[in-house]
Amino acid sequence: MSEYIEHSKDSVSVGLVEKKFFTFAAPPHEMVLESGARIGPLTLAYETYGSLAPDRQNAVLILHALSGDSHAAGVYTERDEKPGWWDCMVGPGKGIDTDRFFVICANIIGSCMGSTGPSSVNSATGRPYGLDFPVVTIGDMVAAQKALIDHLGIAQLLCVVGGSIGGMQVLEWCVRYPGMVYAAIPLATTMRHSALAIAFNEVARQSIMADPNWNHGDYYGGRKPELGLAVARMIGHITYLSDESMRLKFGRRLQDKSDFSFNFDADFQVESYLRYQGRKFVDRFDANSFLYITKAADYFDLGKQHGGGSAVQACSKARARFLVISFTSDWLYPTYQARHIVKALKKCGRDVSFCEIEAEWGHDAFLIPGERLKNLIHGFLQRVHDERRAQPHPL
């Protein structure tokens, strides 16, 4: 996902927020990963907004995508000009209303935004893990989040919501811990990564690994594989947009010039934009984290992991009510993939709503402020909140 947070500067906000940390799985009680590897201690960076109701039934867990972090909403200081990545959706009176809900967002393991990942120091060696960090899966990310939710004393989440790789975690939560999820909103996502999506990820990884500075993942303290990571980000950005959005945003317009340069500088605005996005990303993201998280997404296959190859079998484990949302111009996780989720859920009798939102902004549409998405999420959350309150014994 990319960054659209500048769009929402003027709106109301949750205000000042604080990044917190939760550390668990200290040796000898390490977390056992899907690969069989063990890792510990693990730290999760997380933030919370709003307050937990006395009956603890108003918790909403937000799950972020590839390059996101725990900072979903609000600002860190009064002078902080950059609110969290989903500030347009999360806040007082917003789609996910922090006046009503206790909202939690945690950085995924494998990332580099405060949770344990390849750039973290391995307590066994005193040096950053690098490629010694075990390969983690979407399931491992969710298992780590479950430890945090247990730690916060929440027996059941009212809703889990997330887009893209965050949407994969939503689905994983629903089948891995069915009793802990009352409702779920998977956005712009899929039950299994397509060959197309894997292909783009692989090109992006190759770009990082081909950078001489990458040095088999051992670059901490030295020069970083900035060029490789920037190109990887450029590839990602192309997949987050769409033919239409690129035509509208850039067309064939030239950047700061009236004619071709007849060399290999950035002539077109789209080139200049991608170069800028690539450079910007390098400052805040770790190349190894990019490798690990994209690999986790590529491995994701809900039916294989939880249903013996059957998506319906996997979905039959879920107990949640679902709101599935896709976007017309998303070619990374096209609507047919959302429909597969809907179909599998219907076949096993789950309550599922589905809307394909007309949007020209491609995969990134779920991050862009829009009334349609906001109102859908708002209405669905209100409904499941009321329904759950009406039930003396949920589930």
Partner: protein, 211 residues
């Protein structure tokens, strides 16, 4: 009709009166969810809907209804057998390409089906065709021949005949006289095929109906 049913269209009031409290209901082509909302509020049903139009689907979900966007003929195929007590097809049968197949699906996923449609043999339509020689246009059927979504011309007599042919049991029927968006109307008992503007039928699989 009691006050409780007076907020929605008259034809939907009739349908609502036929639904048992607490039952599981699927509304095919549910629009903005007026009927579903009504049934959930008044009859405590567990309701779901399918609607093609994004705008309408969004309205439904915003209201807190369980509705999914898609084509009714396709979407109904995914539900397990007997997932619902009632499957409703309100004022849509005349727009369905394969009515027999859809009704078969309705009675697979639901115990009972409820279908309603505008009656194409109302006297005013017959008169229009006879006197003007043009395809009839009325408040119930406000379209010209070239822009109508209604691809099937059905009369009450035709539907009864169709039901007998394919092995449908007609459990209830109501011929009503009401305008398209009206909250008031009346049951037409005398010469319904000539005088009713809409027909509503509750159906179940009869003998010989392929399941």
């Amino acid at each position: 009709m009691s006050d409780a049913h007076s907020l929605i269209r008259y034809d939907l009031q009739i349908i609502a009166a036929w639904i048992e409290p607490g039952s599981r209901v699927l509304d095919l082509g549910c629009g903005e969810g007026d009927l579903l909302q009504h049934l959930i509020n008044r009859k405590k049903v567990v309701g779901a809907g399918i609607e093609h139009n994004e705008e309408k689907v969004a309205r439904c979900i915003e209201k807190g209804l369980s509705v999914l966007q898609g084509d009714i003929n396709q979407e109904i195929l995914d539900y397990p057998d007997h997932a619902f007590d009632h499957v409703i097809l309100s004022q849509t049968l005349q727009q369905v390409y394969a009515p027999a197949a859809l009704i078969r699906s309705m009675l697979r996923v639901g115990r009972r089906g409820i279908v309603s449609f505008p009656n194409f043999s109302h006297w005013s339509l017959r008169l229009q065709l006879l006197l003007t020689g043009r395809a009839p246009v009325s408040r119930q059927l406000p379209y010209q021949w070239h822009d109508t979504p209604n691809i099937r011309v059905i009369t009450l007599t035709d539907f009864r005949r169709f039901a007998a042919e394919v092995g449908l049991q007609v459990l209830k029927e109501a011929a009503i006289n009401t305008n398209s968006q009206d909250r008031f109307g009346r049951i037409t008992k005398v010469l319904p095929n000539l005088r009713a503007t809409y027909g509503i039928y509750m159906i179940a699989a009869g003998k010989g109906f392929p399941s």
